[in-house]
Symmetry: C2
DNA sequence: CTGAAAGCGCTTACAG
DNA sequence: CTGAAAGCGCTTACAG
């Protein structure tokens, strides 16, 4: 900056003024300074600026298992929103949702003096660990479940699950089986809950959920189990699968068992991954708008940054939307 | 820090010494300082430190379309490797590979004073834009293609493609059709090249590649085209599809056309997405180890950081590995 | 083993 | 409209 000042023949604070667009600088001076800046290829040192303004302009993001579709999409949404708001985004992943793992990850963010943080926190354990930590504040959670002391942005999982079940019931199925996600995930729990409640509200039998782990493999195994149940005489005509990846496995298992979808069994997934519409049969599923969730989370964070004292910031819930395709139909006559 | 010094009854630079683990501090002093630190919940200000050491400890990552499996996996690999190396990772995405879009994204990184940058640069245009930019340096590219002036880490796309074709040829197919990826992507080009060369080396007919765009939808459309070609009398017994998502669409199109896989047509994909093994039939594909690519990219960057003068840093190539499953078999008799 | 001094590159009042 | 001064919170030689 002092080099620029020298070349332009002004003091370094005049340079600062033009860099920061302050008024009260003669036009000709501005021009001279700008010229010197581009001539020297000068870039303001963000570190020095941050030191004096006490604003780093960086936000932190805690990411989890990005091999999963949802988390990786959400992260992209957050990044985009952060950049639009003029912030830098520093990410750290927590492969390990234990208190220690989370503490280490958050410490990384704290060390960096982030101004705030959004945590993708789909697991119950992770949310608890986050709440217990001094960590960076303000903090907003994505898919985190309420009551942990920070605002939450997420998709209305329960509504999505209810819509899926209702769709199947409307088709004429007497009940709907469920293959659930990892039990430590809040989303898995919310979908189980929505599924169960919709069934109860309709006065239908509620079977035991088959516990999956989100992976195609577990979907496959549980799909086989479903076929066995059917072979044993249980009425299995429809299944709501907690995510599309498992649904892929279910489709395969059912096919191998000689069961037609949707002829014998209807299948509904969750997520609407890009492949969903091109599976055989095209998968009926519940779409989540992860980009909107990311944007909503960032709005919440920005709000907290603007008004740190505001108590009880409202959560943000994005609706889930059912997309009916070819894997669901009326039950066999 | 001065508060800590006061509480511990030492000067602030002694505090600095214990924080930075310098030798030559009396044990008892260290203990007193540590005590004061934890009592006050003190965290060193990374900004102030960065200002004086001239090291921000942050690395930048340029990400592209993270809805795609590969890029999002690679990013995760980079993040992990960066953290292990003690760096922070700031990400910025370039949805737009044009010079302007890239310039804006890289500028964001420059403003942040990153010490180096790894760019996921799968498109030719993006690589050129990167090379033309003053941008942050050192810079290493992932999947970027050589000759742009910075080291590159990536999977051996050509070898992967050749392996896929060889596998099909060994099965007895006379030739192999190809559904390619987005033509502006270097990986798409490398796979086309590998496919073509392997066919040529074996003296087989090289058909015109069918140009896809990576999406399941384009796979579906091109799969239909393939079925038409076959109906018109062309010998279509095997197809190498440039990624698994398109292969999903191809499988659907073939199925709808009444063509069996692998009975009538063998299909081989690329990527080995989690769903691949659970499609019907389980997809033979070429796996890429994105985590290793991310790690390799970071090693390259760290090397460049250590020895900025080292000329012609070697590129790093990770082998692709063919995974034979159920979608490939000998041609119909 | 420990402290006084200088300085990293900026911005923010304060003068003029 | 513009400059001299102080200070953000650290680290790095330099003394002692």
């Amino acid at each position: 900056m002092s080099d620029v000042a020298k070349v332009a023949g002004v003091s370094h604070q005049t340079v600062s003024r033009v860099v920061n667009g302050h008024p009260n600088v003669r036009e000709e001076t501005v021009a001279r300074v700008r010229h010197a800046i581009s001539e020297l290829g000068y870039h303001p040192n963000s570190t020095a600026r941050a030191l004096v303004t006490r604003r780093t302009n960086v936000l932190g993001a805690l990411a989890v298992d990005t091999t999963l579709f949802g988390p990786s999409q959400t992260l992209a949404g957050i990044e985009q929103a952060a950049r639009e708001a003029g912030y830098f985004l520093s990410i750290v992943s927590a492969d390990d949702p234990s208190p220690d793992g989370v503490a280490e990850a958050m410490d990384h963010l704290v060390q960096q003096s982030v101004e705030g943080c959004v945590a993708i926190a789909p697991q119950r354990e992770l949310v608890h660990a986050l709440a217990a930590l001094p960590g960076p504040r303000p903090l907003v959670a994505v898919e985190g479940g309420e009551g942990a002391g920070f605002p939450v942005a997420g998709v209305d999982q329960e509504q999505g699950a209810r819509d899926a079940v209702r769709h199947l019931l409307d088709l004429g199925h007497r009940t709907v089986h469920h293959i659930s996600g990892r039990s430590d995930w809040l989303e898995a729990e919310a979908r189980v809950h929505g599924w169960r409640e919709e069934l109860r509200a309709a006065g239908r039998t509620v079977t035991e959920p088959l516990p999956g782990d989100w992976s195609p493999r577990s979907g496959y195994e549980l799909g086989r189990r479903l076929a066995e149940l059917r072979a044993e005489g249980e009425e299995v005509t429809a299944v709501f699968v907690a995510n599309d990846q498992m649904a892929v496995g279910v489709l395969k298992a059912l096919h191998e068992a000689g069961l037609g979808v949707p002829g014998d069994v209807s299948v509904v997934g969750f997520d609407d991954i890009p492949e969903a519409a091109y599976l055989t049969p095209a998968l009926t599923t519940v779409a989540q708008d992860f980009t909107r969730v990311g944007t909503a989370a960032l709005e919440l964070l920005l709000g907290a940054l603007d008004a740190p004292s505001a108590d009880a910031p409202a959560d943000r819930t994005v609706p889930a939307v059912l997309r009916v395709r070819d894997s669901s139909a009326p039950p066999p006559a």
